[in-house]
Subunit: 244 residues, 2 copies
């Protein structure tokens, strides 16, 4: 199953049965979670209007408005804190570690859900843009303090079977007993196949770059953008009460 | 499969076949990843000595030394940055957003791996302690700048079949179109079953507490500990070059 997976960005008009969505969400709840607190929430977007409002936060990628269902998975210490307050307990979760704990819970849940969706014939696209402009998503979805959007999945029945993308050789990501830093020779060995792929060579050429790595540093993920978005994310963390 | 999952903390003496471990690590590489950069690394601990050295960072939980294999999954922008430097590209990934991107990649990979291990008859325990004292793990595993430990899995063949733990009702974690904050009545409805479980009632009693929530706020995850560990984590992020 996992060997055949590919990200699906085009969906058929067939809606997702409510029962199916509920079942996979419920099954994904079996994911391990800190102290069994389940530090996440899922906002389900099905309405046209809400998809249109979410789209700009995701750079108007067409999946957001074209998928039958958009799921925004949030790190959530609000529910647990509300429980504490109702039960004569004083919650102490307005801090950075608690954000990391809740974000971890949310991402583990997200990935189980993603695997279950695929195992049930659905196609999924994970939107990394969720963490680019979190304040916009916070506003649209009315997220209260101690809730941060952390992942988005667009889901629907696939209307495409794209080519699988390449992956680095296993040796490049695995370290025996301790981290062995990469030599020039390691880099050549591990990135050679990726760099030699016709689509990547073409990509370099049409962008007038010298190397594939420059596509990432100069175009796709620039230092300037990363630094601006780091500030935005930290500011959202402060606004949501996870950082002082 | 997922419906039967439980965390496994006791392992049989049977070692994990090297081939099996390699196969599931390689299959987990199919997990979605930002720009197909695979912003993670896995340190595999099999030696007795390294397990002993890692154990204190995990509060000496016995799984660390008793499991045949301990995997520390790290957010890694070092490998990608090394690649850039070798290819006349100037990496701009020494910032907070890049940490979030790499941590997300690492956690999604971790959860696919966890599901695959379980599907292959192995038992897994996710150690949340990884983010409690990251500097200790950084030292032991010799993690360079732009690498942060983010998750640990202890893995082995199960020597126990523990009871499954409870989960909150699905309605408590799912929000329709936007976040609906929790009323007193919601909290009662969603937490009632958990609070009524005999093991939880007993837990409250033997700890001389009034409510289950107090077990979390006063004993398991206190504000004081969370604040101290927040400082430790932020300081590790600075040391690793992800925060200024």
């Amino acid at each position: 199953m996992i060997n055949n997976r590919r990200t699906i960005r085009k969906y058929s008009a067939r809606p997702i049965e409510g029962e199916l969505l509920e079942r996979i969400l419920e099954e994904a709840e079996r994911t391990q979670t800190m102290g069994n607190l389940q530090l996440y929430s899922v906002v389900v977007t099905r309405s046209e209007e809400m998809k249109q409002r979410l789209a700009p936060a995701h750079f108007n990628q067409p999946m957001v408005t074209e998928a039958p269902v958009v799921l925004t998975i949030c790190a959530d210490f609000n529910r647990t804190s509300s429980w504490c307050k109702e039960r004569k307990a004083v919650p102490g979760y307005d801090n950075f570690l608690s954000f990391i704990n809740a974000a971890s819970d949310a991402l583990l849940f997200t990935q189980t859900l993603s695997c279950l969706a695929e195992a049930n014939g659905l196609g999924v696209c994970y939107l990394g843009t969720t963490v680019y402009m979190p304040e916009m998503i916070i506003d649209v979805l009315k997220l209260p303090k101690l809730v941060m959007p952390i992942a988005t999945l667009t889901i629907g029945y696939p209307a495409e079977i794209p080519e699988q993308t390449d992956r680095l050789p296993l040796a490049s990501i695995v370290h025996d007993e301790f981290y062995h830093d990469y030599t020039s020779q390691d880099i050549d060995r591990y990135y050679g196949v990726k760099e030699a792929l016709p689509e990547n060579k073409k990509f370099v050429e049409i962008n007038n770059k010298e190397t594939l790595a420059q596509i990432f540093t100069d175009i796709r993920y620039t230092k300037k953008d990363n630094e601006a978005m780091s500030e935005g994310f930290l500011s959202a963390l402060r606004k949501q009460g996870f950082l002082h």
